[in-house]
């Protein structure tokens, strides 16, 4: 089975670990534990044409400013999931900075954008209008939730599709 490395990137406490836990184990972590270094999980997915792929999912510690070490973790990645937190508008700006750093220092690889925690309705700072204003109207940002599972599967599946097209 062919394998692909993908990274989950974003500012701290945007829910990256929870998204991976939902995708790999279909579980949700109710308490916040900051990730230090990197945690790698794997899940097998079957493409529409029946081919199977193993995804090595790198849950990289959150950072607002990408360091040399942060970029080293990305080496060999076929794609990445960029995560912002719907309850903290500044995490979208951090996500855009991370993407700019990744694009400037590494070869172009596919990515998918996800605004997490949309289930926390009363604390929303990133509605679709604000996302469009901050990130640009042409940007596609999925809106999802690790807590409810909304759009989690779709985000990873979409990333895999893009990686396969780019391969």
């Amino acid at each position: 089975m062919e394998a692909r490395k993908i990274c989950v990137l974003g500012d701290f406490a945007t829910g990256k670990t929870s998204l991976v836990a939902r995708f790999v184990h279909d579980s949700f972590l109710t308490t916040y534990h900051t990730t230090v270094g990197v945690k790698v999980d794997a899940r097998d997915l079957v493409l529409a044409d029946g081919r199977a792929r193993r995804l090595a999912i790198w849950d990289v510690a959150g950072t607002g400013t990408p360091t040399e070490l942060f970029l080293r973790y990305l080496r060999g990645a076929s794609g990445y999931l960029l995560v912002a937190d719907a309850t903290r508008a500044e995490t979208l700006e951090r996500a855009l900075e991370i993407r700019a750093a990744v694009e400037s220092l590494l070869p172009a690889i596919p990515s998918v954008n996800l605004v997490n925690k949309v289930d926390l309705a009363e604390r929303q700072e990133l509605d679709e209008v604000r996302v469009a204003r901050l990130a640009g109207a042409g940007e596609g940002w999925l809106r999802g939730s690790a807590r409810t599972g909304e759009n989690v599967e779709r985000a990873f599946a979409r990333l895999l599709e893009r990686m396969e097209r780019a391969a």
Binding site: G37, V38, V40, R72, R123
Partner: protein
């Protein structure tokens, strides 16, 4: 020599205990060739030569064979953390794992505290922002309340002036009438006419203020009754033609489309709105004409009042429908500044919307459309009951009201008996056996609605009119709940009272 060997062995043991190194020799395809060290402590105890190392160590996926890379603090299968060093060794690759759990634990503790502190700071900022927003809202609300209070104070000051003017006129003419030795210019009849005119103006002011209060409290409700459109048109013409002529204006009336003879509508409120609109138009028009245009189509009555006055400026349009606001040119005109606001609310209550448009050629057009179903059977029924039910028992605790209305009703052809309270009312009731009872909602020491209820309880099947100076919906509702057929506001024009009595008789005849 032996000592240094022992020391080296000791140091190696300490290093091995702390770093727990695990060394794996891999081929170029990441196949395991050789394993040494503590693989089990990282959760890789099942790793054996010949296996693809990436099956158990997914962090190797994506890495190219032969490249050197150092990956600090990678979580392993056992949950511990390892520093991973992959390096080419001739034709093979060497993979070294050393324990980084302690360093990760220490860094996690510091990082967790720092991240939580930043999240807490963010929450505090949000809380502060919401508190600021709440304070701003509160300030804005206070300002609006202060403005409303100021507006009401101005209104009360203006209204006091409005009340004083006719009161002064009434008092001066009463003094004139009382002065038997006068050789003045006005006859007693002229003085009486002026007193009546000023008293009517006072009454209209009071009614306006009470209407506004009732609308504010949501207490005003509609009471549709059959209304003859042709009579309404005549009434408006008779009322306003002389007033317009006195100001050198022409009063025009236009009927458009099919004007049904009888419609069902709250005639009192329709009359109130139309009188207000025409009165305003005449008040503010110096030359030209004021026109009333009525049309009826498919259950809707359209009313428009057009004038050749100065029009309403763009800036004033927004506010003239609000209470205590007037157009720029209206500052020196008589009135409470409530008429248009009340009219707009009444039209809304009747199911329409009062609109203002420019009149082509200059002036304004105020208009609205409201539901007004036609009722064909009303006329013959009303005609058939005229002349019936003439004996009236009037119960009111005010001597003046009893005296005034008993004379007016007698003049209208009714036989009237009066009572000041419930015991007296029962005595008169037994003696006279009236056809209709008019009962005040509030009697001294007695509840008028109680008398109505007891009249019904004793089998009185005649018409009952409740009346009161209160325009509150709950008073009206209490009267109807007790068994009244109609409710009217005091003081009521005798023509309206007679129309109410006729309407009750008509309904009772129709129901019989």
């Amino acid at each position: 020599m032996k000592d240094s060997f022992v020391t080296a062995c000791h140091l190696r043991r300490i290093l091995a205990d702390q770093l727990r190194p695990c060394f794996v020799v891999l081929d170029q395809g990441f196949g395991v060739l050789q394993i040494s060290g503590d693989a089990a402590s990282y959760g890789y105890g099942g790793l054996n030569p010949g296996m693809d190392c990436r099956e158990q160590m997914p962090f190797l996926i994506g890495l190219a064979a032969g490249e050197a890379i150092h990956l600090p603090m990678v979580e392993t299968a056992s949950g511990s953390a390892a520093d991973v060093l992959l390096t080419p060794t001739g034709s093979d690759q060497g993979l070294l794992l050393t324990d980084a759990s302690r360093e990760r634990a220490a860094r996690r503790l510091a990082q967790q505290d720092a991240n939580e502190a930043r999240l807490l700071l963010k929450e505090q900022q949000k809380l502060l922002e919401s508190l600021r927003a709440a304070r701003d809202d509160l300030d804005a609300t206070s300002q609006r309340a202060a403005e409303a209070s100021l507006m009401k104070s101005r209104f009360i000051a203006g209204l006091s002036h409005e009340f004083r003017t006719p009161l002064a006129a009434i008092l001066s003419h009463v003094a004139l009438l009382a002065d038997v030795s006068r050789d003045g210019e006005l006859s007693p009849a002229e003085s009486a006419q002026l007193i009546e005119s000023n008293a009517n103006h006072l009454l209209s002011l009071v009614e306006t203020v009470l209407d506004r209060a009732s609308l504010d409290m949501g207490q005003l409700s509609l009471h549709p009754v059959p209304m003859r459109l042709s009579a309404f048109c005549r009434e408006m013409q008779v009322m306003f033609q002389p007033l317009a002529a006195a100001q050198g204006l022409e009063f025009r009336f236009h009927r458009r489309g099919d004007l049904q003879e009888w419609i069902e509508i709250d005639a009192t409120r329709l009359r109130q709105v139309v009188i207000n609109l025409i009165g305003n138009a005449i008040k503010y028009t110096d030359r030209g004409f004021v026109a009333l245009i009525l049309s009826w189509e498919r259950g809707s009555l359209e009313v428009a009042v057009s004038d050749t006055g100065p029009g309403v400026s763009e800036a004033a349009r927004e506010r003239i429908f609000f209470p205590f606001q007037r157009a720029d040119h209206a500052a020196n005109k008589r009135g409470a500044g409530l008429g248009l606001a009340i009219s707009a609310q009444l039209v809304e209550l009747m199911g329409g919307k009062l609109k203002l448009e420019d009149r082509p050629g200059g002036g304004s057009v105020f208009g609205f459309t409201i539901p007004a179903p036609n009722i064909d059977a009303a006329a013959p029924v009303a005609a058939s009951v005229s002349g019936l039910e003439r004996r009236i028992l009037l119960v009111d605790d005010s001597d003046d009201i009893r005296g005034l209305y008993s004379r007016l009703l007698a003049k209208a052809g009714f036989t009237v008996d009066t009572a000041a309270d419930e015991p007296e009312a029962w005595g008169r009731f037994e003696a006279q056996r009236p056809d209709i009872a008019i009962v005040d909602v509030y009697l001294k020491e007695w509840e008028g609605t109680g008398l109505v209820r007891r009249l019904r309880g004793r089998g009185f099947t005649g018409g009952i009119v409740s009346w009161s100076a209160s325009s509150l919906r709950e008073d009206r509702q209490r009267a109807f709940d007790a068994g009244a057929d109609a409710f009217v506001l005091k003081p009521v024009e005798i023509s309206v009272l007679c129309a109410t009595l006729t309407d009750i008789a008509r309904r009772r005849a129709a129901a019989a």
